[in-house]
């Protein structure tokens, strides 16, 4: 392969570095109306009255929107397949506010200062209600967070708002109680994972205008432009054909932009006033009023036999979706479906539990999406079990973990919100990942720990899997056309959000067409101009959209060969095409002459192909993550000395960008493992609502990352590729917890793993 799996610079890095217009907020109209949202000061309240006349009299105020201005059409902000597996439990504006930061009303004015003045002049009377702030007491609580009658589920997801349930789920294989009873070793543990904020550096932003065809044209920093178009159309009753969503460059998403944020208000105001309009979240609003990762309580029991076989996994999860149920069921299910099959030789598995509403900032999609929570619990529990059994945790994993050609019944039972798809592991290089990782971290020399003066050094590890898109649901498509002078346009619905998908998809097209990257001009994510794609989520772009691109390129190549055969007056089979020249014996025509001839001189026609792809399976990437830490013996402050990731993601289409995906995800995972924590005051106010109170890793926190890929070729993937976007985030919490145990003999079961918690455990141990 000449283009794929080669070191090729990203196609857009230069222009972005030089500060060219690229991001959503670079494209708003100068005279745009500005929207500012009045946000609830109460975790739960009913709006009794709104006095807005003084504010309306202010010069420059265009309108003030309250819940009275909107028809009561419930929708979900979650951008997912349709019908959505998330409950329709949100209104554009509602008479209830359900968390501190929820939308009360929106002020629309000529500039921000005027809007802020207006906000000060508005008086809202609330009937303050008692909130539910403890997610463990949310179910069947006398306080009902969603009493409104219009809300509903699109299909059965266990939605029961009278019980504060956004979703619930149960699955089992075999008789788990019996298996546990019969096991020689049983452990039962409870883990807690915290909410985590995406903290992408570009805040949510959207702007709109009516175009010269009187259509609503929206620039949005979104991961799911086609879902945004559909949800706006449904909730505001604007015909789909009247809406165009353009996704410019996105300044980071990580799942945070897999939902509607300001789009609804901006669309409404622009459509209503016919004037351009914009809404940009402040950083405080990003923290307080978008969504974060679902906090979970995970009760897990493992049973094993004397001969070192894992026999049973019993996993009960309680997930906190906050005020609204975005991705409630699907995140919950991934905590099982992309975690439990790691140990596929068990006799029985049970996975069940609830996703509850509380009066906290909602939870939603976030890279790793359930998998990181489930992985922390399971991979911590495996080490706890091994400790109890006095067996080596790596040897135990090697014996029990999933291997190439094997399968797990879980794949067929659990999908995302629906049933899953049976598949066997055509590629699974987990054994190689573990072996190589042990070498790179120096496991045998380090395990479990080494004294180093006033510090202790230790190692810990975890294994992980992910998916590659959602089979039979996620669709990607690509259009490729040949231009005069022999270059191509590639149009994809796939959503570049900084992860490099434009570059990767261009490489796939260029490889198939045997040309260079600079001969393929990519344009992505414009609902008018590019074919449909579900968007950037579920680790789908390289595998699903990449397959669509490869298919389109292959079909275009065939079409070109047919045309060349006509010109050279030979059969299709006799044509040899090397990317630059069509030849048959001594007859030949260059691609440039060929494309110019088709464009301008003879038998003129535009050659263009659109193809789509829907996965029939979701081949998991696998990885082994190893951390070496040092801990101060007195303060228990942890330093990450090195994080080794050995990943099987099939072919790396762009090895450098793939490494970037893993490195970035490891560091986000380390943030969650070590200090990132969404914190609330006792009355439900978010404390961690800026970068000073919510610390993300800085470059001082990261000493060394060692990321490698093992040789692997997934037949069903484009040029052998699987996904790589999410897998990196899964292992750090468990690997760190295991390393801390190996160093000090204390087990931290609630994230983040802070020196304070370690000290508490050390004291109670003594």
């Amino acid at each position: 392969m000449k283009v794929v799996n080669n070191r090729i610079n990203s196609i857009d890095g230069l222009g972005v570095m030089k500060g060219r217009k690229a991001f959503t907020d670079d494209f708003f109209e100068k005279e745009s109306l500005i929207i500012k949202v009045l946000r609830s000061p109460h975790p739960f309240a009913k709006i009794v009255s709104i006095k807005k006349d003084k504010a309306e009299e202010l010069d420059g105020i265009e309108m003030i929107l309250t819940h009275h201005d909107f028809k009561r059409i419930p929708f979900t902000r979650a951008g997912q397949g349709y019908p959505e597996p998330s409950p329709h439990d949100k209104f554009v504006l509602d008479e209830y506010v359900r968390y501190i930061g929820d939308e009360v009303l929106a002020v629309v004015g000529s500039d921000e200062e005027t809007c802020l003045k207006a906000l000060d002049l508005i008086e809202v009377e609330y009937e303050v209600l008692e909130p539910v702030l403890d997610f463990e007491s949310a179910k069947d609580n006398k306080i009902i967070i969603h009493p409104e009658p219009e809300i509903h589920q699109m299909f059965e997801i266990g939605f029961d708002p009278k019980k504060n349930l956004a979703a619930s789920y149960h699955m089992h294989i075999g008789d788990v109680s019996k298996s546990l009873d019969e096991s020689d070793y049983v452990i039962r543990e409870t883990f807690f994972t915290q909410a985590q904020a995406h903290a992408m550096l570009e805040p949510h932003t959207v702007n709109a205008r009516m175009d010269y065809q009187n259509r609503l044209m929206i620039y949005s920093s979104t991961q799911t432009p086609f879902h945004v178009r559909r949800i706006i159309s449904q909730a505001l009753e604007i015909p789909l054909a009247k809406i165009r969503i353009i996704k410019p460059r996105v300044g980071g998403g990580f799942g945070g932009k897999q939902a509607i944020h300001g789009e609804m208000l901006v669309a409404y105001v622009t459509f209503k006033t016919q004037k351009p309009c914009k809404l940009t979240f402040t950083r405080k609003e990003v923290f307080e009023s978008s969504y974060s990762r679902h906090p979970m309580r995970i009760d897990i029991a493992l049973g094993a036999s004397k001969d070192g076989l894992l026999k049973a996994i019993d996993c009960k999860i309680l997930s906190d979706t906050g005020a609204y149920g975005e991705h409630a069921l699907t995140v919950f299910m991934v905590a099982g479906s992309k975690v439990l099959p790691l140990y596929n030789k068990v006799d029985s598995v049970r996975f069940y539990g609830d996703v509850v509403y509380t009066n906290h900032t909602p939870a939603g999609a976030f890279r790793g999406y359930g998998a990181i929570q489930g992985n922390f619990a399971l991979e911590s529990a495996i080490d706890i079990l091994c400790e109890k059994m006095h067996v080596d945790p790596i040897a135990f994993r090697q014996k029990n973990m999933i291997k190439e050609t094997e399968t797990s019944p879980i794949f067929a039972i659990m999908g995302e919100g629906t049933e899953g798809t049976a598949m066997s592991m055509d590629t699974c290089k987990l054994e190689e990942c573990v072996e190589r990782g042990m070498k790179l971290i120096g496991w045998n020399e380090m395990y479990p720990k080494k004294e180093a003066g006033d510090r202790i050094r230790s190692v810990g590890m975890a294994i992980a899997m992910q998916g590659s898109g959602i089979p039979y649901i996620d669709m990607g498509s690509a259009t490729i056309k040949l231009n005069d002078d022999g270059f191509y346009n590639l149009m994809v619905g796939a959503t570049e959000i900084g992860q490099g998908s434009d570059t990767v998809l261009t490489q796939i097209a260029a490889e198939e067409l045997m040309t260079d990257v600079d001969k393929v001009v990519v344009y992505s994510s414009d609902t008018d101009l590019t074919p449909f794609d579900v968007g950037a989520y579920a680790s789908s772009t390289t595998y699903v959209s990449g397959n669509a691109v490869k298919k389109a390129a292959s079909e275009l190549k065939q079409m070109m060969i047919e045309e060349a055969a006509k010109i050279l007056e030979v059969s299709n089979k006799e044509i040899n095409f090397d990317g630059k020249l069509f030849s048959s014996g001594d007859k030949l025509i260059s691609l440039i002459d060929f494309s110019n001839r088709l464009t301008y001189s003879e038998d003129q026609k535009q050659l263009q192909v659109t193809s789509s792809y829907v996965g029939h399976k979701s081949p998991p990437p696998f990885m082994a993550g190893f951390v070496e830490i040092s801990i101060d013996k007195e303060t228990y402050e942890i330093t990450i000395e090195n994080y080794v990731s050995v990943v099987d993601c099939g072919t790396t289409i762009n090895p450098m960008l793939a490494k970037g995906q893993v490195d970035g995800a490891i560091v986000q995972g380390l943030g969650m493992a070590m200090f990132e924590d969404v914190k609330y005051s006792k009355n439900g106010k978010l404390i961690s609502n800026d970068f000073l109170n919510y610390k993300i890793p800085t470059r001082l926190d990261i000493l060394k990352l060692t990321t490698e890929f093992v040789d692997s070729y997934e037949q069903s993937g484009p040029f052998g590729a699987k996904s790589v976007g999410e897998i990196g985030i899964d292992t750090p919490p468990a690997a760190l917890a295991n390393a801390v145990f190996n160093a000090l003999g204390v087990r931290i079961k609630d994230l983040p793993i802070t020196p304070e918690k370690i000290m508490r455990e050390m004291r109670s141990k003594q």
Partner: protein, 150 residues
């Protein structure tokens, strides 16, 4: 009120409000490479050079820039291009929302301390947050850039 300001070596007379921050004045005047990432001087995305020193433009009152020199990434285009090449080669390109501010800060480090050690690089750039890359690839790219002569 009006201020005289030199932006990327061009002298400009710009109308400002007395309580306006530099970032808003720059964006209003189409210097769109200067972007806002937070509300309180904690992310580094809005960095510009004020008389060759990196400052967060969200916290500098525009009026303080009267008769001062401001540099945005457009003012160091050749240097940004060099850094972009190394970012590309090291796989440090991701969303790039912070890259123009990164380029300005790295350029300023090069003026101040071209032989900066690993720790000095990290400390100089600690205020420039990145949520995408995990920093390691950026660090390698920055080191190579500093190795080039100005």
């Amino acid at each position: 009120m009006k201020i005289n300001i030199i932006i990327n070596e061009q002298r400009k007379e710009i109308l400002i409000k007395d309580n306006e921050y530099l970032i808003d004045v720059l964006r209003r005047n189409n210097y769109l490479s200067v972007r806002r990432g937070c509300d309180n001087t904690s992310c580094g995305v809005c960095t510009v050079l004020l008389n060759d020193k990196p400052v967060p433009s969200c916290s500098v009152l525009a009026i303080r820039c009267n008769n001062q020199r401001i540099t945005t990434v457009e003012g160091i285009a050749d240097e940004a291009e060099k850094l972009a090449k190394y970012f590309g080669e090291e796989g440090a390109d991701q969303c790039g929302f912070c890259n123009p501010s990164m380029a300005l800060t790295v350029y300023s480090l090069k003026l101040e301390n071209p032989n900066a050690s690993d720790d000095e690089i990290k400390e100089y750039l600690v205020g420039n947050l990145c949520r995408c890359t995990g920093y390691v690839a950026q660090h390698l790219a920055i080191k190579r850039y500093l190795g080039d002569k100005l």
